[in-house]
Amino acid sequence: MQSQRGASIEIKSLRVWLGQREVIRGISLSIPSNTVFTIMGPSGSGKSTLLRAINRILDIYPESRVEGSVYIDGVDIYSGRIDPSDVRKMIGMVFQIPNPIPNMSIYDNVALGPRINRIVRDKKELNELVKWALERAYLWDEVRDRLGKPAGELSGGQQQRLCIARALAMRPRAILMDEPTSNLDPVATAKIESLITELRKILTVVLVTHNPFQASRVSDYVAFIYDGRLIETGSASKIFTRPESELTEKYVTGRMVS
């Protein structure tokens, strides 16, 4: 399977309210295709909310309200004609706390997306897809002999890689990752960081983290969010060596309490 063109994402004047609180106060960003784009910032800055606006998973929270536009490959996904579930078929998501369906087998967890959305024609295709996804998630070798076992038996790091495989099985053009390693130990974290850098060959990765050091390790581009506003954005090398804003500098040198 050759590398695909990842999606390019353009956020224009996005404002998001959760209840009465304005959490995102007018952010505009460009995310180039096939890159690892990291949204970083201290806790409470709104980065998780920003991420959730990209695949419209915000829609399932009744208190949320969105203004502005998000363009995926030039199409505004917030325009009236678009069905949110179509957006999410194209953009996968991985959450901070791994959330496999616990009693379901490893195989069935990965196959969940393709099955619900009927994107494969037969069992053979599905088997290949599951294998491909697990390989990309650096999990295949560890579970190849126990695909039928319940997902709940895996360790935390393995469960998270399972969730990555599950998202990949949909062959998305982009994948959103909300602090995927903050609940994991350093070894598990390192594994996932290395697979992230590999993933950019086949899709666009948008990563959210509160750890500036992780951001510096994996990113091509970075956006620094503070209190719902975009403070600075640019290539990783620039932001980490010559940040323009004082806030950014405080953050990347680890002097901002998260």
Partner: protein, 301 residues
């Protein structure tokens, strides 16, 4: 992306028809009750609820006897149920050993799912004769001249009250138990550390949750007023204008409606009269519900 407004989405939206059906049915029910129920008031005026008469032959209807019967039997029922529910809640939550707790509380829950007609049958052939016997042997003539005498098989308003209290106690017990378990541990510990006896602690906890108890009793009252079948089997179904004579048989609104179902269509105005009575019953229920909603909105239980 966005080409087909998926069939799945259409299917999901069609689920809303079920919601609309439910809302429509209840709306029609209420409108019907209102419009059919009001008709008898046009014929009889206020006397429909201020006089005591129920005669198909004379086409004359006044449900005061039943209204009084409903109110009195339910009041007595919740007084008795209050005692039983408090005792049961305290026993189950505070006194019973852990091992028995599940079994006993399950037994209490089970009793809430016994069909009411079986309560009625038991009431008619076990409770009523007992009430009749006790009245004849133990209640002096002087008292009976004020409170009345049960029917030959022991049917009376008091019998109905007792049966009602047995039926509504499980629900009241459950609500009071829930309230008791919501009392913060810290209060428990504080009271015991002051050296109070177990009983004194229990009494104070009950005082602490008195609003929840009052609400439970209000809801139980609503259920007692609405209970039909068990009551109609033991209340005697006799027009008793002196409904305060609780040892005599009588009617409640619900038992009146149930008792008349077979000859309702034989007379011109009986069906409207039945709807009129049902409207009164419904209004009482709504008033209780509004009252309870206001009380529980006002304070966090």
């Amino acid at each position: 992306m966005g080409r087909k407004m998926a069939r799945g989405e259409m299917l999901f939206r069609s689920f809303a028809l079920s919601n609309i059906l439910i809302i429509a049915i209840v709306a029609v029910m209420v409108i019907l009750l209102g419009s059919e129920g009001v008709m008898i008031y046009i014929k009889e005026g206020v006397s429909f609820i201020s006089t005591s008469i129920w005669s198909g032959a004379r086409e004359s209807y006044g449900i005061l006897f039943a209204l009084g019967g409903s109110i009195i039997t339910s009041i007595i029922a919740i007084i008795i149920a209050l005692a039983i529910a408090i005792g049961s809640a305290v026993t189950l939550s505070e006194l019973a050993p852990q091992s028995m707790r599940l079994f006993l509380s399950s037994l209490t829950d089970l009793s809430a799912s016994i069909p009411t007609v079986i309560y009625g049958l038991w009431g008619l052939y076990i409770l009523a004769p007992a009430v009749g016997w006790i009245t004849r042997e133990w209640i002096p003539e002087s008292v009976r001249s004020i409170l009345g005498t049960p029917g030959s098989i022991g049917t009376s308003l008091l019998t109905a009250s007792i049966l009602l209290s047995i039926m509504i106690s499980p629900f009241a017990t459950a609500m009071i138990r829930e309230a008791l378990s919501s009392v913060p541990r810290s209060i428990d510990e504080a009271l015991y550390s002051l050296g109070l006896t177990r009983f004194e602690v229990v009494v104070l906890k009950l005082r602490y949750i008195r609003r929840a108890i009052a609400t439970a009793m209000m809801i139980a009252y609503g259920r007692a007023v609405g209970e039909t079948i068990a009551v109609s089997m033991v209340v005697g179904n006799v027009v008793n204008p002196e409904f305060w004579r609780i040892l005599s048989p009588g009617y409640t609104i619900s038992s009146l409606i149930a008792d008349q179902y077979q000859n309702a269509e034989s007379y011109n105005y009986m069906v409207p009269a039945i709807f009129g009575a049902a409207l009164v019953l419904f209004v009482i229920g709504v008033m209780i519900n509004i009252y309870v909603t206001l009380i529980t909105r006002g304070q966090r239980l």
